[in-house]
Each structure stands twice: as C-alpha cells, then as structure tokens.
C-alpha cells in the first residue's frame, strides 16, 4: 500500500485470515439448521434408511467370520456415511444458491477473501456432517440392534466424518458448476446413485460382474470400504486409498477451476 498511513483513515488494514470470522460461522450454521429440507436430507433420511434396512432380526444376530460386530452395525456405518456425505455436499450447494441470489457478489464488496468464504462453507457443512453422524449413531444405539465394541463406534463415526470431506470438495465443484437454486435436489439424486455404486445400500456382490468392476471406480467406493475396514477386520487395500486420492484430486481441481472462473473479473 502506497497511500496515506498518516491520516489514520489510511491506516486501516485488510482483515486477518482473509476476513474469516467465528460470527459468520455461527450465523451460517444457524441458517443451515433453519433449512428444513437440509435437515431432513442429512439427518432424517439416513436414520429412516437405517431403521428400514438395518433392523432385520438376522442382521442383529449374524456376525460374519473375522468381523468385530454384526451386520446391523455394518449398515449403521453405511447410513452414517450417506448422511455425512449429503451434509458435506450441501455446503457447495449453498454456494450455488448464494451465487444465484447475488450474495457472492455482495461479499466481493467486503474484505472477505474468496478462500476464507469457501473455508467457512466447508466448516459449516462439516458441522452439519457431524450432527448427521451423531444423529444416525444415536438412532442406532437406541434401536439396540447394531453391535460392535465401543471403540469401533467412535472410530467408524470419526472416520466417516473426516472421510466425508472428500464430498465437501465435490459439493464445491458442483456448487460452482450448477447455476440453479434446486442444486440440492440434483445432488441428492447424484449422491443416491454414487451410494449404490459405492455399495452403501446393497453389497456390490449382488451386481453382475461388469457392474462390480465399474463400481470400483466410483467415488464412494474407496471411502465406503475404508470406513468399514475396522469393523470387518479386512486389511486396507491400496486400490481403496487410490480411489479416494484420485477422486479428491479431481474434485479439488474441478472446484479450483470453476472458482477461478467465477471470481475472475471480466
């Protein structure tokens, strides 16, 4: 800065952390919880799916060889992942809606840096993801069907929550790509498809061979395998990690590409 530090007016400096503020984070979370559709999508739907699919009497009594818990616990983890992925995707969807309402433009008249804005959105959706994971796990506990050691409840819930960050990047990419207000419906549908592809709703072994092979390339496959590994006692396969890393890079690259276009000053 070259001008006027003596006047006091000129001494104003840009904000630290690019304008990131806890006040904004708090207000964003409050907004999210005011949105009934989001709450239903991320908390009620996965809980209901668990109650529908996870309470079969044989699931509660069956513990496959080498597993550290029963099938009901397996389905619980799948549904927690489903809810958390939806929650993380919603952060990006909010950006899409805010762009269409002109709020993003308004924020460009403030010191808030676009990166701080995105970090705030990601943190907001992570809070929502956490609430979603906790709610699904509480529903599971209350149903008394899932069974696994307490440390696996904690470990799988934590890995589901952290792993869903992959879909925060996906949400941002889609949020900048899709210019509509009903982006959440589109994403809800896409996540549903990916959940089938990743084996969250039905085991991949029920698919024909070709479809099974294809499924191994979809973005929820690796993450789903990883978060279940502590329960099933399987060794982690390199392919799962590769799947997650490659998709993360694709989503981040896509988000950065669209974001740069969006903030480019024409």
């Amino acid at each position: 800065m070259t001008t006027a530090t003596a006047s006091g007016q000129g001494a104003r400096s840009g904000p630290p952390l690019g304008g990131f503020s806890p006040t904004v984070l708090g207000l964003e979370i409050r907004r999210l919880l005011r949105n009934r559709r989001t709450v239903i999508f991320t908390m009620v739907t996965p809980s209901i799916f668990f109650l529908l699919f996870g309470l079969n009497a044989s699931y509660a009594t069956t513990t496959p060889a080498h597993w550290h818990g029963n099938i009901s616990a397996f389905i619980l983890i799948s549904m927690a992942l489903y809810g958390s992925v939806l929650a993380n995707t919603s952060g990006g969807a909010m950006i899409s809606i805010e762009r269409s309402q002109g709020w993003s433009r308004q924020l460009r008249l403030t010191p808030l840096s676009p990166v701080a804005y995105i970090v705030t959105k990601m943190m907001t959706s992570m809070v929502l993801g956490l609430v979603s994971v906790v709610v699904v796990n509480i529903v599971g506990l209350l149903s008394q069907k899932p069974s696994m050691p307490w440390y696996l409840w904690v470990a799988t819930a934590a890995s589901v929550w952290v792993g869903s960050l992959l879909f925060a990047a996906f949400g941002l990419f889609m949020g900048y790509l899709l210019p509509t207000e009903n982006v959440m419906q589109i994403m809800g549908f896409v996540i549903m498809l990916l959940a089938f592809g990743g084996g969250l709703f039905v085991p991949l072994s029920v698919y024909p061979h070709a479809l099974q092979t294809l499924a191994r390339f979809t973005p929820l496959y690796g993450l789903n395998q990883l978060v279940h590994a502590p329960l099933t006692g399987q060794g982690v396969e390199g392919w799962w990690v590769l799947n997650v890393v490659v998709w993360l890079m694709i989503f981040i690259a896509g988000a950065v590409w669209r974001f740069r276009r969006d903030t480019a000053r024409v």
């Binding site: 001008t3 003596a6 949105n35 309402q101």
Partner: protein, 314 residues
C-alpha cells in the same frame, strides 16, 4: 467504530488523492462499447449524481470503480489506490441495485455477518438506526419490503464507515414513501462529510440530492456541472416552422439557436432565447406556421440523453 475520523473534520487523503479518479476508461462487452473513454474526478465530500437512461453505462462504470470488473482500457483509482484495495480496507462500500441479501437471515443477523468481516468491530446498532431499520432488526430479510431491504443494504454499506459510498439506482422499484424515507436517511448521513456517488435515471433525484450532476449517454459523459447548470443546458424552448430550402448550416447561424434539425420543409430549432430566434425567423427569413413549445424538465433530460439529442445537425 472509527478512531480518528471524528477528529479529521473534512476528510482528506494525506496525499491529496481524489475520492474517485477515472482516467480514459473504456469497457467493451464483445462489440458493445458500454463505456467510452470516460474521464472523471470526484473530490472528497462531494455528492455526485450519475444521471442517465437505462443502458447508458452507469452500472458498468460503477462496477469498475468497485473493482467488480476491470476496464478494457484506462485506469481507475479510488482514494488513491486500486479499487480492490479500497474495498479491502473498508474505505469504499456500495448499495447495489438488486439481490445481494440472504432471505433466511434476519435484518440484524445480516448486519452482524457483514460487520464481522471488517477488521475493526463495526457498530451494527448505529448502522441500523441510521438506516432507519432498528425497529425491524429481528425480521427475516425475506419478509421485508423492497424499501426495507434497500435500507438494509444501506446499513450494510455504512458498517465499515466508508469514505466513499456508491449507490446504484438505489430507489428503483420503491414507492414514493419508501423513496422519501430512503433519501432522508442518505441525506442525514451525507452531513457527515462522506463522498457519495449515486446512479439514477430520475432527474428529480439528481436535482434534489446532488451537488453535482454527471450526465452520461451511450457510455460517454455529455454534461458535468451543478444541477442548475445541467438543467439550463436542457431547458429552453423548441421552435417549429415551415421554411423550404433551409439547411442546418443556415439555421445554425441564427443568433440564439442552440440546436437545429431539418425535416423536409419543416425546421426545428431549440433555443434558450426563443423570442430572439422567433423574431429572426419572422423578419429575416421566409419562415411561416411558427409554433413555440416549451419542454418540461423531464423531456429536456430525455432530449439530452437520447440518441437523437442536442447537437445533431450543427
């Protein structure tokens, strides 16, 4: 809220930089030349109306002053720095035309949101009071009227206590009462010595609230002065007569003729001294069927800013 502003009196930049300085800026959108080689300097504390019809290039120019877009050519300086830096330092803020609000926040939450983005804590309550919306602080933004939303945008613009406040068509879509309330809030604030630039296509708004009027037409500044000066440019009367064989050159030579137009045998002469022109036409030329009409202020403004405005045929 501001540490030194009150002690400074009239705000001046210590290096004497003007509030806004546009040097030869142009903006093209494809083949459309929205802004053409505009030079404009606005000093500290001035209240300037940017007057012109829709599509004249007002918003394009404002976007460049705010750093929302970059000029195709020319240079923009705001308070002696780049537009983006002035925004980052909270020294310039704006009330934009539409949008830019979240429907699912309350009025006070919206103000707190924006206030928290500035380094120094801004006084949310003071801004709401000055914008006249402290009474509806807990109302959802989506339930506010257009005028209330506009005053919220104004409150948001006040939060950083900016040196320069820019308003883009601030009263579009408001009813008469909303407009009056909005302007009385702006007016009360302007007494604090802030530089204000507002775009409008309402002549009476420019007349009532600005010290200086900059008239823009097709991306070019066509007049710049006090509102009285600009009005006198646009006032006067139109004389219409039948005068076969007249040329724009011969008519332009008539004393007192400001602008002339020839339509077949009919001539139209615009003049600030219609009597003088009429006397000349009737005594020195073969003109007949003379009619003299006065233009309303609004019509005069339209003439100044329309495609076939003054100056044609001279």
């Amino acid at each position: 809220m501001k540490a030194t502003g009150a002690a400074l009196g009239p705000r001046t930049d210590s290096h004497g930089a003007p509030a806004v300085e546009l040097r030869g800026i142009s903006k093209n959108f494809g083949h459309v030349r929205a802004v053409r080689d505009v030079d404009l300097t606005i000093g500290h504390g001035e209240i300037v109306a940017f007057l012109g019809p829709n599509g004249a290039g007002k918003t394009s120019t404002i976007d460049m002053i705010l750093g929302l877009s970059t000029p195709t050519a020319g240079e923009v300086r705001v308070l002696g720095m780049t537009a983006r830096r002035a925004i980052q330092h909270g020294r310039v803020s704006a009330v934009l035309q539409t949008g830019g609000l979240l429907k699912d926040l309350t009025v006070v939450e919206t103000a707190r949101y924006v206030a928290s983005l500035y380094h120094r804590g801004a006084d949310v309550n003071a801004a709401l009071h000055r914008a006249g919306i402290a009474g509806i602080a807990d109302r959802m933004v989506g339930k506010c009227s257009g005028g209330e939303q506009q005053r919220l945008r104004f409150a948001m613009a006040l939060l950083s206590d900016p040196d320069l406040l820019i308003l883009d068509e601030p009263t579009t879509g408001m009813d008469v009462e909303g407009r009056r309330d909005f302007w009385s809030a702006i007016r009360a604030d302007a007494d604090r010595g802030r530089t204000i630039l507002f775009a409008t296509h309402y002549l009476e708004e420019a007349d009532a609230y600005a010290d200086r009027v900059v008239l823009i037409r097709k991306g070019e500044i066509v007049a710049d002065g006090t509102s009285a000066q600009v009005k006198s440019l646009a006032s006067g009367r139109t004389l219409r007569a039948t005068l076969p064989g007249a040329t724009p050159e011969s008519l332009g030579a008539i004393p007192g003729a400001d602008s002339v137009e020839v339509r077949g045998d009919t001539v139209l002469i615009h003049s600030g001294d219609a009597d003088k022109v009429a006397r000349h036409l009737l005594t020195e030329t073969a003109a007949h069927d003379l009619e003299i009409t006065s233009r309303g202020l609004e019509e005069a403004f339209l003439t100044l800013t329309s495609d076939t405005g003054t100056g044609e045929g001279q």
